[in-house]
Symmetry: C2
Subunit: 303 residues, 2 copies
């Protein structure tokens, strides 16, 4: 990946942040995203955009571009030949926590890494992409989940027959709370280390995934945002958001790497839900609406 190509990716990512924020603002009546632009001590920086509104209780869409002297251990574990190399990385990462408990929480990310020489690196243009999106319902509707996965599958289709299947399975595996024996939600796509294709094909794929997120999520938001809900629905949503906290702080590699390596804490933790409750040993009542969710927290074929 040469400089020009890397700049193309950066340019796409910034535009993606813009277009996602614009799309979300359309259905949020009175609020706009606020931006914090920040710089990082090692170089680079980002634009963190957040919104607290009526439809979106808390929405965060972050763009970052960071530089480093030395690839983190988490990046070189599977690539020992890159140890000691400098790098630059960029990505868009977002988490949307809606107010209405019938709208699922959603997360999306697309990211690029490129080495910048040093260490054992002979070729200073090693690169890879990662990303995906996943959905976390509180009161699941099959038709919403099918739409989400169908959109994911359609986005993957031009890139090969097995692409959706492979990255869907990876998502189920990644977003898993081992201590709960539960998936975080109903999945979607997750991929990392994507460099087996040409730069052009990989970059097209990233764009297909980035662009598919709004197409996958917004129709669900629109369909459920006016559904009446009770205090009980809200309480269950707050309780289940605790699982989101558990996953992100105990397992999520991006979060942990960010926190432990001196990333911008507020941008990393904007993924946290706005209001959360923890209740010792809560179990939904047998036959309740709430109990139904627990049947969805294991991998399933949706399309």
């Amino acid at each position: 990946m040469n400089d020009k190509q890397f700049q193309q990716v950066l340019s796409y990512l910034k535009g993606l942040q813009d277009s996602i924020c614009n799309s979300l603002e359309i259905i949020e009546p009175d609020k706009k995203f606020k931006q914090d632009a920040w710089t990082h001590a090692n170089g680079g920086g980002g634009r963190t955009r957040t919104l607290r509104g009526k439809v979106f209780e808390s929405a965060g869409v972050n763009f970052s571009h960071v530089l480093g002297d030395k690839l983190p251990g988490s990046a070189t574990a599977k690539r020992p030949e890159l140890t000691g190399s400098g790098f630059e990385a960029s990505g868009v990462s977002l988490v949307i926590h809606p107010n209405n408990p019938f709208i699922p929480t959603s997360h999306a990310n697309v990211r690029v890494f490129r080495t910048t020489g040093g260490g054992n690196v002979n070729d200073d243009n090693k690169w890879w992409f990662g990303g995906g999106f996943d959905l976390t319902p509180y009161y699941p509707f099959d038709e919403d989940i099918v739409h989400w996965h169908q959109t994911a599958k359609d986005a993957c289709a031009p890139f090969g027959k097995e692409v959706y299947k492979k990255f869907k399975a990876w998502c189920d595996e990644y977003f898993y709370l081992k201590h709960r024996k539960e998936t975080r939600g109903v999945g979607g796509l997750f991929f990392d280390d994507l460099n087996q294709w040409s730069f052009e094909k990989s970059f097209e794929f990233i764009q297909a995934i980035g662009n598919a997120y709004v197409a996958a999520y917004l129709p669900i938001v629109k369909k459920r945002m006016d559904t009446p809900f009770t205090e009980q629905h809200k309480a269950f949503q707050k309780y289940r958001r605790g699982r989101y906290v558990e996953f992100n702080l105990v397992y999520d590699r991006g979060t942990l790497f960010g926190l432990q390596s001196g990333g911008r804490t507020e941008s990393i933790l904007m993924s946290m839900p706005p209001e959360v409750s923890f209740r010792y040993n809560y179990q939904p009542e047998s036959g309740s609406e709430e109990e139904k969710l627990y049947d969805y927290l294991a991998p399933r074929d949706w399309v």
Copy 2:
């Protein structure tokens, strides 16, 4: 530590759980602790006691006694000669989240480990103790913190001149959120790997610490429990509880080891605050009551 001695410790720990629960119930008007007794697949088990009341929004006091075939990596990192050894461990661990934001959250733990042979272990009675207690205020009062530390210091005094100082410093170091550059609260005591004294002296020390917790905490609860508070105080408490969540899920070795090694999830996570809020980039207003707390989140000599 022979079997008889280990049984003595177990017996003390169970009694400590009883006496702490009794002491807390005295000032909680209508509620009693509920107990879940549980067993662990590898042997052993525990008694998890929780209470949701008026004074104590959420209180959890856990006793556990677990057995294992193989000491965890976290326990052998500093003791490679014990690799592969079986073990048994027991402890009392508690976290109290009061309702009134003028009462600090408190945490206490005392624990014992003993090897049971296997691996490289020639002597199957290697043992060590750990424990401590620490305080996390939302609206700090110097006199409360001085009382807390004075009680800790008095409990340590019979065991040596440097004991309080050393374990107070260890507490400040351990309960530190690196990504926030904040201590979790105003500290207290923390110690681990305690085996340099005789069994008798070590066991006496554990008892002194276990017994001091109620003496350190209850007077603060009684003094602050009737202080009137506003929605704003409550909101700040919920916000700051987010730091408790961050510490416990990102850094706390006991929590992470427990979750990753198949411990009883609900007993481990009973430390979570009942209601929490996360707010992107919140900063207390300059000169506000809330801002005052931030001056307390660095180590300080209290007594």
